[in-house]
């Protein structure tokens, strides 16, 4: 009798937990689905959570970065609630299509293929280039020195794609290309001696090298590109609204203020809206 009672209690406990979990899970999905343009809407921004200085976990345990700060200011301006969704970067399009977030806004490179797929893209806001980061004592001075070496890159980033296309010839001289799931892991591999160089976006390299000793960024610029915000096809209206708010922020100086933050390094020099 006692055993039966215990079993019954356990069964109820399980059902209860599952109900609570499903209820919580359900809510999250609903919020991203709310496509209404009313005031107080929740704007879900999809970020790569390990992409300093554009989007990363700050010292206080909350997401910060240039893109996050701008998005926050945009939402303040429009009276929206900002919610941050951590993307699995190499699945970003699938997650965006699944309404898990309203946009991908995290130093995302504008690619021709993205446009061809029908995604709505904002005007470019950042001029980026790919650079090579090496250890200070490696003796590597240019991409030509990388013949027979191992080069790290984050899977699915523009550096990775570049190595398959425009830089395929250079990639052919490497011993191997080591793909990781985040840049921070690439840097750990570099520091730990598992790779000889990392092909990475210039601002990411600059912000990492500023905080960690022993790394050198080569002057050579490999491949230029621009960052934009990516929305689902059909969300042109949302894109226009966000872009409008950003222009207001540029006009009233808030944008510049954010860009000038010390922890964001030199990104201010490459922001397109501040050059005009």
């Amino acid at each position: 009798m006692k055993k039966r009672l215990t079993a019954l209690v356990l069964a109820f406990a399980m059902i209860f937990t599952m109900t609570v979990l499903t209820a919580c899970g359900g809510n999250q999905g609903d919020q991203a689905d709310q496509g209404d343009q009313s005031e107080g809407r929740t704007f879900v921004m999809g970020i790569d959570p390990e992409y300093p200085p554009f989007s990363y976990l700050g010292d206080n345990g909350e997401y910060t970065g240039f893109d996050v700060d701008v998005a926050r200011a945009v939402c303040d301006k429009l009276g929206w609630q900002l919610e941050i969704f951590e993307l699995n970067w190499d699945n970003r399009y699938i997650q965006l299509d699944n309404n898990e977030c309203d946009c991908v806004w995290s130093g995302m490179t504008i690619l021709e293929s993205t446009k061809e797929e029908g995604y709505v893209l904002s005007a470019p806001y950042f001029d980026n280039s790919q650079v090579l980061m090496v250890k200070a004592d490696s003796g590597i001075a240019s991409s030509a020195d990388l013949a027979g070496k191992d080069v790290g890159v984050q899977l699915g980033t523009s550096g990775d794609i570049l190595l398959g296309e425009d830089l395929a010839e250079l990639a052919g001289t490497f011993n191997s290309v080591v793909r990781s799931d985040s840049f921070l892991k690439c840097f750990t591999e570099l520091d730990g001696g598992a790779v000889d160089a990392v092909l990475v976006d210039a601002p990411v390299a600059a912000s990492y090298a500023a905080e960690h000793d022993g790394f050198v960024i080569l002057d050579e610029k490999l491949g230029g590109e621009q960052y934009g915000i990516c929305f689902r096809s059909g969300d042109q209206e949302l894109c226009d609204e966000v872009e409008g708010a950003i222009q207001e922020l540029v006009a009233d100086g808030t944008y510049k203020q954010i860009a000038e933050k010390e922890e964001y390094g030199e990104i201010i020099n490459s922001l397109i809206f501040l050059q005009q």
Partner: protein
């Protein structure tokens, strides 16, 4: 990119997936037996220590163990990260799977009635002889379905190796999915895993039938 090119480039990664799979089995199956024997040791300290280790290995994600084995030495002692990632990957996989196999072996060994040990003793078998000639053959037969379960899981778990930048088949799939903005590589990966497991299933079924010589 045509579907065929996609399949060919992913098939290249399949080689590295197979490397994890076979090496893990080669190391973890015997290691599991050692762990199982330690776990059943008459010495309470040894038995409990082993029990604790097993519970840690089963109670923490394999992904975490992969990270710990690969980057742990670097963060803790400043020892470099291995260039050949297959080594830390196989170490982590083998240790993790050995813990599961150990418990499966223990279940099998403990399911053999005590009377058999007594009978063997009466017939003059030594302890080792009893274990190897009488107990073990029966255990192998009994645990086959559970072992197949683990082996099938192992095929799918190989995709976790990307956590430490080891590029197996699924990583290449993700890479193609990215550059082509296409879902197709995931479908291909799914088919690859399924076919791989169908072969494993068939092979294990054959072995099981072979062992079923009394029926």
């Amino acid at each position: 990119m045509s579907l065929w090119t996609m399949i060919v480039s992913m098939a290249e990664g399949l080689e590295r997936t197979c490397a994890i799979f076979f090496l893990t089995l080669i190391f973890s199956l015997p290691l599991g037996m050692c762990v199982a024997l330690l776990r059943m040791s008459k010495n309470k300290v040894v038995a409990n220590a082993t029990r604790f280790v097993i519970s840690v290995l089963r109670g923490t994600p394999l992904m975490l163990q992969l990270l710990a084995v690969t980057y742990g030495p670097y963060y803790l002692f400043g020892i470099g990260v291995a260039r050949n990632k297959l080594i830390p990957v196989v170490i982590a996989f083998a240790i993790n799977y050995a813990a599961y196999f150990a418990e499966i072996y223990r279940g099998g060994i403990e399911s053999i009635p005590l009377g058999q040990y007594e009978a063997a003793n009466v017939l003059g078998y030594t302890k080792t002889q009893t274990f190897i000639r009488i107990i073990l053959p029966q255990v192998v037969k009994r645990i086959m379905p559970s072992v197949t379960n683990e082996v099938v899981t192992l095929v799918k778990d190989t995709s976790l190796a990307f956590t430490v930048s080891y590029q197996e088949m699924f990583t290449i799939g993700k890479q193609i999915a990215n550059s082509q903005t296409s879902f197709m590589p995931f479908v291909v990966a799914g088919v690859f895993y399924f076919v791989f497991n169908a072969i494993v299933d068939y092979g294990m079924g054959r072995i099981e039938n072979r062992l079923d010589y009394y029926n």
